[in-house]
């Protein structure tokens, strides 16, 4: 068992080193990449201090790159979340912007007359759905 844990830690450290290297060449997202190594056991995590217990998660691969966070718990509440490795940014951000600008419409235009496929809005909850344009669209299409 102990062997497995050691093997796992070594693997994680290697991963961290690997990503620490790759992110250090790709911009500000690399901040903290190397400090991860010093944060200790990423699996059992847990360094107690005057300001609570900090637990470090393992490195997670995401679409945005490797991510690692640490959470500080004081008593039974989370008092801090810190990101040891940030996602290095969305590669898509660098794409040339090809999106159209929203075009304002006249007050009387409704979704069906406008030939709308879907509605984006902040009020589209299950409660408000019945009284929404999205509901009208869905019913028209069903």
């Amino acid at each position: 068992m102990r062997r497995i844990v050691l093997w796992f830690m070594t693997t994680v450290t290697a991963l961290v080193l690997l990503f620490g290297y790759s992110t250090s060449t790709s911009g500000p997202g690399a901040v903290g990449g190397s400090t991860v190594i010093a944060s200790g056991d990423p699996v059992t995590g847990g360094t107690a201090s005057a300001s609570g217990t900090t637990v470090t998660g393992s490195v997670v691969q995401t679409r945005w790159g490797p991510v690692q966070v640490a959470v500080t718990v004081e008593g039974s509440v989370i008092t801090d979340v810190s990101v040891l490795q940030y996602p290095t940014g969305n590669g898509k951000d660098q794409e040339i912007n090809s999106y159209a600008l929203p075009v304002l419409v006249s007050e009387t235009l409704d979704a069906q007359n406008a030939g709308i496929d879907m509605v984006s809005g902040a009020t589209v909850t299950s409660d408000g759905y019945v009284q929404s344009l999205q509901s009208a669209l869905d019913q028209a299409g069903l």
Partner: protein
Amino acid sequence: MSGGGTAPVVTARYVEHGMGMPISLALRGRHASDEEGRAAWDAVMAELRAADRMFSTYRADSVISRLGRGEVALADCPAEVAEVLALGEAAERDTGGAFAVRRCRPDGSVVLDPSGVVKGWAAERAAGALHALEGTDFCLSAGGDLVCRTLDPEAPPWRIGIEHPHDPLRLIAVVPVATGAVATSGSAHRGGHVVDARTGRVPEGIASVTVVAASLTVADIDATAAYALGRDAVRWLGTRPGRTGLVVWADGSAEPVRGGGTPVPAGG
């Protein structure tokens, strides 16, 4: 290549409720209304429900609630938890603290609420099942935040209406999106009122923010963050490359914004 363009475009629609909001799907093309299309729709709903079980702050037994109470260690949480928390932290950094996944209660305690990140992130993940549908375009809306795809560059884009923040039965604007994501944040957003995390107050002067971006995760976070910034929304959104958007002020006036460029004067 297929003989696309000869048959009339038929859009099939699917609706179900999940995560406390309506989930609407429009499909057009080869698998729009066949078994494969329906199976993908089922997979979308299953994915959204799984995300809800993990991240709902309304469920006392969700992983995020248990983490928030310190009952479970981060190391024991699914990898998705770290991903969502990191996205929230990045947004907090980008907005100077106006957007935050941890909020201070009046008594000084901290509550962990990544709702501002989860909705778009979960919908974008759920749309993965739709990407696998060959020859099929989709537009998936999770409670008004949506992600769409159009395979044929010659095909008409999806036409997205932006709801008027003062009247859900009216549109305030329209934006065509072939492939991309649209998210809107406002005072009626699920998860209670969006607040400026620096002050704990509801932002002033602003009614809603819509963001168009390549990723729904990004669009949703930026819409929530810009809304939390209140009167600073247009200026901030204007600095975000690769996005367009619409800021609607409390008085009902609206400003289209091109990220990474200069704000466009309202035209009517």
